[in-house]
């Protein structure tokens, strides 16, 4: 019981923090005279504060928490954010049911980017501001945000940070690391917004729309989210300069924050020695090769320019986990078999750890490949020989059985999620290939869609994808901790009060 109170307390504090972030869309609504949406955000803030404070009152002493409790708070924080974040959206008129609003909210916070919004082209700017802001909040990690803002989580800060799945050692102090992550984000978001604003102005958009769309697309790309303010996503703009800028932002967003730190420190060597960076670069290169072949054989998208704009763009969008899309859902068939598989693999393999990307993550792919090589070497060596393999990730390391086991565990968890989601989608009657595609997109928090994700999707599938996006963002461990705790509580209740 004591444990539940502690968890409730910290959850409450995070929810109140989330309520404060709703001030931004509120300010947007007031500035642009969007009165009805403004009320939606006042409502959202008020309800969130009420719920958050009620929970925080469960234990006002701010007790220290164990690692296991931190994992559970982490899992519940994402779920709470999705539900609380859905409140203003649910009142917006762009979501037929509350579940639809929760879908987009979860999609936003987990930086997925799948959307079930209705009438997106007429959505109020403040609502679009909130949708895209969820990418920024979720991308930086709800908990990192809380830590760096020094909300009172005395004693709990370090546990929560690890629970988030972050393992940066950028700076010895967790609060300082959080602040550095925000610094890098601020630089990239500022530069990105300015560049895209200029591009939009040149294209003929008015100042307000140019800057708002620039900001939204920047954070959607850098936080590898993938939302866009129009129903056609990035295709609305028909703008190669915009797409080019987004590509740079996507790459920046999928880079490990440790690498950002190294480059900011002036250390150029890490980027090229790092196993993760090499694996990701090689992965993208191989898949780009496949898509180039597929396109040129297919004749339809055969020019160099088209290979770049539709092929390379989507491989990077997929691999970084962004999900910005410049083709209609029905157009994936134009990619040809190899092209489509390349996109799915890009989504499945994912970006770097300690970034906002999703998927299995290139570091793990790299380690698994190295372990295969290591096994081959061992097999070819005399039995008494000691064979070791080195790799570099921030520091020099050796391929050990523990490292490989960990990488394979995550690989397996993701594969289970991908395949299960595919089966569920197919079970609902969707075509197998499309169901697999959509499943991988949800589980790896990418956001590219074959059209299965829509407001008219079956409710069961909506709920399933919500859970898949949630589980993928948490990399399964926190969710397992939560599930185990719940099962223990139900099947083995404690006899005495703690």
């Amino acid at each position: 019981m004591r444990e539940v109170r502690a968890i409730a307390h910290y959850l409450g504090i995070l929810i109140v923090g989330l309520a404060m972030t709703m001030l931004i869309p509120l300010a947007t609504a007031l500035a642009l005279g969007e009165w009805e949406p403004a009320i939606d955000y006042v409502l959202g803030i008020a309800i969130a504060c009420a719920i958050g404070l009620a929970l925080a009152l469960a234990d006002i002493t701010s007790p220290s928490i164990s690692h296991r409790q931190a994992l559970m708070i982490s899992a519940l924080a994402w779920l709470s954010a999705a539900v609380i974040g859905a409140i203003p959206l649910a009142f917006s008129g762009n979501y037929p049911t509350f579940i639809d609003a929760v879908f987009d909210s979860m999609s936003g916070f987990t930086t997925s980017g799948l959307t079930v919004a209705v009438d997106l082209d007429h959505m109020a700017a403040s609502h679009n501001m909130w949708r895209h802001l969820t990418h920024l909040i979720g991308g930086q990690g709800i908990i990192v945000a809380a830590v760096s803002l020094a909300i009172a989580i005395k004693g709990g800060a370090f546990s929560l940070y690890l629970a988030e799945g972050r393992d940066e050692r950028i700076l010895p102090n967790v609060v300082h690391t959080g602040r550095f992550i925000w610094f890098v984000t601020a630089i990239w978001v500022t530069v990105g917004t300015v560049m895209l604003t200029i591009i939009n102005l040149v294209a003929g958009m008015d100042v307000v729309r140019s800057s708002l769309h620039a900001f939204w697309l920047t954070i959607a790309a850098f936080d590898t989210g993938g939302f866009g303010p129009h129903s056609q996503n990035v295709l609305y703009y028909h703008n190669p300069y915009l797409e080019g800028a987004l590509l740079v932002l996507m790459l920046a967003g999928t880079v490990n924050f440790n690498l950002h730190a190294d480059l900011f420190r002036g250390d150029r060597t890490e980027m090229f020695k790092n196993l993760e960076a090499r694996t990701l670069a090689a992965n993208i290169a191989v898949l780009v090769g496949f898509i180039a072949v597929s396109f040129s054989l297919g004749q339809l998208l055969a020019t160099d320019w088209e290979i770049w704009r539709k092929g390379v763009f989507h491989i990077i969008s997929a691999n970084s986990g962004t999900g910005h899309q410049t083709v209609y859902a029905a157009q994936w068939s134009q990619f040809g078999g190899a092209g489509l598989i390349a996109v799915v693999l890009a989504m499945a393999f994912g970006g770097m750890v300690s970034s906002t990307a999703g998927g299995i993550k290139s570091l793990r792919i790299g380690m698994i490949l190295y372990s295969v090589v290591l096994s081959a070497k061992k097999a070819l060596s005399p039995p008494s020989a000691v064979v070791r393999m080195r790799f570099h990730h921030l520091v020099d390391r050796i391929v050990t059985p523990e490292i490989v086991a960990s990488a394979l565990t995550y690989f397996t968890l993701y594969m289970i999620s991908y395949i299960t989601g595919g089966l569920v989608g197919a079970g609902y009657g969707y075509e197998a290939g499309a169901a697999m595609f959509e499943s991988v997109s949800a589980a790896a928090n990418v956001g590219l869609s074959t059209g299965i994700t829509s407001p008219t999707m079956p409710v069961g599938l909506k709920l399933f994808y919500i859970v898949q996006m949630w589980a993928g963002r948490l990399e399964y461990l926190s969710l397992i901790a939560l599930a185990v705790a719940l099962m223990l509580a139900i099947f083995r209740p404690r006899r005495e009060q703690a």
Binding site: V42, L43, Q232, H238, P240, K310, V327, Q331
Partner: protein
């Protein structure tokens, strides 16, 4: 003589109706146009849709206007003059002009980097569009007031409890 004139007039009438029926395909929604483009690249089509957002720059001094209906929109390439004729575009609280665009569909336009688009021959404004009202719901205001009151009360209690334990 009169009979000849009447016959000629009837023939002209029949022909004009017949040729129009043959030449002009039935108007499509943007979603249908996308499907048709994928089926038959280069097909002629007439599409009805609401002009969205704004006219954007396209190569060669042309303009992009995205027209949409029921959640799907298609990009139309038209001349700057044609784009200037569009009175208003779809935004929050504004319904854009409904356009009828006749032209050629491309499933992966080589001219425009592989975009699926509609190259317009003729553009006409069917409806000028107008304001959409987003009415204020008093119920929401009551709910907001009630929640805010509860939240303030809880906050006061929280502060009080912490002060009591010297935690402030």
């Amino acid at each position: 003589m009169r009979r000849l004139v009447v016959i000629a007039l009837c023939a002209a009438l029949v022909l004009s109706v017949a040729t129009r029926a043959v030449a002009a395909p039935a108007p499509l929604t943007p979603a249908e146009a996308v499907a048709l483009a994928l089926e038959s690249d280069g097909a002629p089509a007439t599409v009805h849709g609401e002009a969205l957002g704004e006219a954007l720059a396209a190569p060669g001094g042309k303009r992009w206007v995205n027209i949409g209906r029921e959640g799907t929109a298609i990009g139309v390439v038209m001349t700057a003059e044609q784009a200037a004729e569009v009175p208003r575009f779809g935004l929050y609280r504004q319904r854009g002009a409904t356009l009828e665009v006749s032209g050629v569909l491309n499933s992966a336009c080589d001219e425009h980097g592989g975009d699926l688009d509609l190259h317009a021959d003729t553009v006409s404004v069917l409806d000028e569009g107008g304001a959409i009202v987003d009415p204020l719901h008093p119920g929401k205001l009551w709910l907001a007031g009630a929640s805010a009151t509860i939240a303030l009360a809880l906050w006061a209690r929280y502060r009080q409890l912490r002060r009591r334990r010297h935690l402030a």
